[in-house]
Symmetry: C2
Subunit: 206 residues, 2 copies
Amino acid sequence: MNNVQEESLRDQKKNRRRRQILEIARGIIAAKGLRSLKVRDVAEAVGCSVGSVYNEFGDFDGVILTVNRETVQALTARLRGVPAEDPVRQLYGLAETYLDFFAGHANLLRSLFEHRMEDDRPYPDDILQMVMDAFALMHPPLVRLLPDADDVKIALLSRTLFSAVHGIISLGLEERMVAVPPQMLRQQIEQFLDVHLKGLGILPLR
Amino acid sequence: MNNVQEESLRDQKKNRRRRQILEIARGIIAAKGLRSLKVRDVAEAVGCSVGSVYNEFGDFDGVILTVNRETVQALTARLRGVPAEDPVRQLYGLAETYLDFFAGHANLLRSLFEHRMEDDRPYPDDILQMVMDAFALMHPPLVRLLPDADDVKIALLSRTLFSAVHGIISLGLEERMVAVPPQMLRQQIEQFLDVHLKGLGILPLR
DNA sequence: TACTCATATGAACATTGTTCAATTTAACTC
DNA sequence: GAGTTAAATTGAACAATGTTCATATGAGTA
């Protein structure tokens, strides 16, 4: 009995189309924002019927949520790529990598953080968990820098610090409002970390 | 010539209805979220036609934006009510007042920060400006605490600090995700300020 | 080939934002 | 107060968009 099922022609087409739908949807969100995403536009661009989108994702929220899931996965991958030799440098690296990712994919990040479900259906737990896990990536370097601190406190500190950085970036990149230039925002983040690490009794880089 | 124009019966009704529409719309957003706000629901609750909503606000975004405008005004009023005797206490007070307001009106705040315009029309400048002004309310106490610092730097610091607090609260109040309890969030904010003010060389309260 | 059933289709439907010709009504004139 | 005018109101019709489902298609199978 062979468990490694060969992919049938059916599954090939199904998976191929699934990828196509997500690619197109992501492209539209990235380029024109979540509010400009329309089922018919996606279906037409993919070259299938609207019904197929529904067969594959249940409803339109399903498409958005899957794009969001992949966004947080891509973000996490990028954050995991930050060098971990020096814990202080790692903290700065995480913040700056987040800034770069946010600046480069602002609409995708907004879709992740701002999309609300119809009615009062809850936002999928797994996505929220992935976001929390990403924000917990400051935990390891903080543990190294504060070896005597309670682990639970460090976990909270990690989420707090990352949430703070998120707030600064998220509002800083908000268009118009006197437009904080990206380079300035980078400096802003660095200075914020300088001060906060100093407050924690950690020697900053500079 | 009398410039103090007496309000005509027409204007009375017009203004009265305008207020009603906003009240109903605000109530729906607060109770069920922005995504549940429907023109017909508003019109029916007010007891007028959908056309009247359009006459008064141009389009539906106009209703939302006006509610958002009043939300940031109410927020600003609350923040201005924070005692200013002790600058350190004032900073904590601003953060905690923001937390209280956010916790008490989460859906209204989300509408303010998450609503995106149709197409690529810009979010009204005056609202963004009001948000920025609210976030600048940490400026005066910071000036008192850091009398030797450059005023431009303090302005940036004020926005940074408030944005950070916003990020912590905004994500902390995000439903589900292990649900940070309000009292815990309050502590989280306090500890965050403790550390950051210490990093700035300011003696914390405790 | 013939048969079966999962999948794809897209017209029809449901919901919701938007418009505008017709109607109502306040304000004004005599 | 009746008539006139202009502005506000109405709600049916329209437009845009999410959703469903009876039907058609085509891959798998004997």
